[in-house]
């Protein structure tokens, strides 16, 4: 069979080739149209022919295997693939945006803007990791945004799918990727740890907020290997006004040992969403790099610190869920709240990487004008936060695992569901009261949450006799 020609006006498997929009080192991008498809399309065609550069071929094969299996707003939709035996190509949705690379001239950007961008990327990574894929090439040129604001990750040529053959596994003696962004464990051949992507996002966040790359631009293996023992300068050394919460997040992403980073991308997104609740450790204040003694120990006792490859990525993600406990800390809810605490304690003891978000919904009246202050002039919002922390204190959680939130809403169930969706919560624990006045009037919050949540919901209900006692 003759090799099809790719040029404007040509047709390939029903796709009509339009104009060439990008010519890169590895691939050429063409706009294409198809009678049955309404979304704007791009055809990515590798620039190599079979038998030439193995890296380009293999990474194109990986993208061809992975992209059609991905779904959701954080990846470009895939509409067709062709293989090397005839004409290799991938047809994907065209995202109407430039990549983050277009922002490099503006660095450093404001902290708040960087926080929002990094939060969106972390959310996209969480979605990707849940689909069993580790991106392995997170950098500005692999990141775009939809008009609706969601981050879209592109370029899966170096990615690892935990349920598919890893074609890059033995292809190259040297780790393949973008040197400044590559996680240290990648230099040791580890390809199945999703926290490698968190490291790369940390590099990006450091770069975007300081204007400096934390590990420079060295492309040599020797230069790259330094990150196995040498930590970067803390951002505060470069910028005196660097917010401690942001340094805490960035340096945690850049931890040499994956286990010291955030357990999951969802948890990183959560920290970026609630900077005022980030647990500040010694990291947040540092002005100097680690002392030479520490660096030497890392460098010459590497056998102690080699990252343990985690083979079961799904299990690793499942061990670090975000758990929400939705509490009513007003009216006499003592018995129910005690049961809720027991349920939360049971979950958290089995999942040491889980984090707990305690939620109270401050119900707003439909008609009455709500005031921030109560009759005694106390701030209602602050009081609820204090009460939530008090409820959680017997759980004796490390502060980094606990956050408290007061939401104000007319519809409490809708507010809980929205919080769950935005923060990619994995599990909701919520109480059900059987004879509450509110429930009679408004319908059950817990049943609406249980019916509509996109995650696991545990409904906690004390025995009826105890409930009668509590409310009677």
């Amino acid at each position: 069979m003759a090799k099809p020609v790719i040029e404007p006006g040509a047709e390939l498997d029903g796709f009509t080739i339009g104009e060439r929009v990008h010519q890169g080192g590895m691939a050429t991008l063409w706009t294409v149209t198809h009678p049955g498809i309404t979304v704007p399309l791009l055809m990515k065609v590798p620039r190599i022919s079979e038998g030439e550069d193995p890296a380009a071929i293999v990474s194109f094969e990986m993208e061809q295997m992975i992209l059609p299996r991905l779904a959701g707003p954080h990846v470009p939709g895939c509409f067709g693939t062709g293989t090397f035996d005839r004409q290799a190509y991938v047809v994907m949705e065209r995202i109407p945006d430039k990549t983050l690379l277009s922002r490099l001239g503006e660095l450093p950007i404001p902290y708040e803007e960087a926080r929002v961008i990094a939060g969106k990327i972390a959310t996209a990574l969480a979605d990707l990791h849940r689909q069993n894929v580790i991106h392995h090439d997170i950098k500005p040129s692999s990141i775009m945004f939809r008009p609706s604001g969601e981050c879209v990750l592109i370029d899966f040529g170096l990615s690892h799918h935990t349920q598919l053959p890893d074609l890059l596994q033995e292809e190259f003696r040297l780790p393949y990727g973008t040197a400044p962004y590559m996680a240290p464990e990648r230099l040791l051949g580890v390809r199945d740890d999703p926290r490698s992507d968190l490291f790369s996002l940390g590099v990006l966040l450091y770069f975007f907020t300081t204007g400096e790359r934390p590990f420079g631009e060295s492309e040599t293996l020797r230069g790259m290997r330094r990150r196995l023992w040498r930590d970067p300068y803390p951002p505060r050394k470069l910028k005196a006004d660097y917010p401690p919460w942001l340094q805490e997040i960035v340096l945690r992403c850049l931890e040499i040992e994956p286990v010291w980073r955030h357990p999951t991308a969802s948890q990183l997104a959560f920290d970026l969403a609630y900077p005022d609740q980030v647990k500040l450790t010694a990291r947040s204040e540092r002005l100097q790099r680690d002392p030479l003694s520490t660096v030497w120990r890392r460098r010459f006792n590497r056998s102690d610190t080699l990252p343990k490859p985690k083979s079961d990525v799904a299990a690793q993600l499942a061990s670090g869920p975000i758990v929400v406990v939705a509490l009513d800390i007003e009216e006499g809810s003592g018995t129910l709240n005690e049961y809720l605490r027991r349920a939360a304690a049971q979950l958290l003891t089995t999942l040491p990487s889980a984090r707990l978000a305690c939620l109270h919904v401050l119900k707003l009246g439909l008609i009455t004008i709500d005031r921030t202050l109560d009759e005694q002039g106390n701030n209602k919002h602050i009081n609820r936060l204090v009460a939530l922390r008090h409820w959680a204190s017997p759980l004796e959680l490390d502060e980094g695992r606990l956050t408290v939130h007061v939401l104000e809403a007319v519809d409490p169930a809708a507010a809980i569901l929205e919080f769950t969706r935005v923060n990619q919560v994995d599990h909701i624990v919520i109480g059900a009261r059987q004879n509450s006045m509110l429930r009679t009037l408004l319908g059950s919050v817990s049943s609406k949450v249980a019916a509509e949540a996109a995650c696991t919901v545990t409904v906690v209900r004390p025995p009826r006799s105890l409930q009668a006692e509590a409310s009677g």
Binding site: D13, E50, P54, V58, Q64, R86, D166, Q169
Partner: protein, 253 residues
């Protein structure tokens, strides 16, 4: 795009080992998933307690167009000099007494390999199929792939599923397949699909193993099928075969 080429859904079985309960469960699942052609990669007998049924079943399938190749246990029925471990030897001697002449002839006449389009079917590593070498890693897989012209080789023998590929630059990849997740065997590289065993899995999972392959989409799907292991194990014990052969079915080791 593939006009003119046949579109067939294959069900591929290896190492049935006279396990009636496992093979019938797998055949049911394969038919429910639309299998249009059956391929049997050898070792129909040996270890298990229903060799007559197993051979009769494969004979009937071959009558209907199935493809079958010979395995070392099948070969040992008519070749007493074939060397085996003690339990396997005991099972073969018992099996030999159970099979009639037509069944023995059927096994004796099975070919070592079969080629179909760009696919090769063989029981063990393909460079010297009659030596019954295991494919236990990338170097064995590379030797096997290099010895053939096939785009995809299907084999069994080691009783542990694996999927190997060789790139155009002769680099190897290995992969332990995930059940029920189709993997497209891309055209730009060559593949060796090692099947798990229907009748005596040894990868720690007692469920019977087989695979489906779609010749149009070129997707292979490794499947696991739970079956009544207790009955299969009881029949081994009841027929006086070594008890270890029954015990290992329960744990898939």
């Amino acid at each position: 795009m593939m006009d003119g080429e046949e579109n067939v859904r294959l069900a591929v079985f290896a190492d049935i080992h006279a396990n009636r309960q496992a093979f019938s469960a797998c055949l049911d699942v394969a038919r429910a998933r639309g299998a249009e052609r059956i391929v049997c990669l050898g070792d129909i007998v040996g270890y298990g307690a229903d060799p007559e049924w197993a051979v009769d079943t494969v004979m009937a399938l071959v009558e209907d167009g199935a493809i079958a190749v010979i395995g070392n246990h099948d070969n040992a029925i008519n070749t007493p000099s074939e060397t085996m471990n003690a339990a396997a030897q005991a099972a073969i001697e018992w099996t030999r007494g159970r099979l009639g002449a037509p069944q023995r002839r059927f096994l004796a006449e099975l070919p070592l390999t079969r080629q179909e389009d760009d696919r090769l079917y063989v029981h063990s590593e393909a460079s010297h199929p009659a030596r019954w070498h295991y494919v236990s890693g990338t170097s064995d897989a590379a030797r096997s792939i290099e010895a053939t012209a096939a785009h995809i080789t299907f084999c069994g023998h080691i009783h542990r599923p694996a999927l190997y590929s060789m790139s155009s630059a002769a680099k190897m990849t290995s992969f332990v397949p995930t059940s029920d997740l189709p993997v497209q065997l891309l055209g730009g590289r060559r593949w060796l699909a090692v099947l798990g065993s229907v009748g005596q899995p040894r990868d720690g999972n007692p469920a019977a193993a087989f695979a489906m392959f779609d010749t149009t989409s070129r997707e292979i799907t490794y499947c696991r099928v739970p079956y009544d292991v207790e009955v299969a194990a009881d029949r081994i014990r009841a027929n006086g075969l070594p008890h270890w052969l029954a015990d290992r079915l329960l744990v898939g080791k």
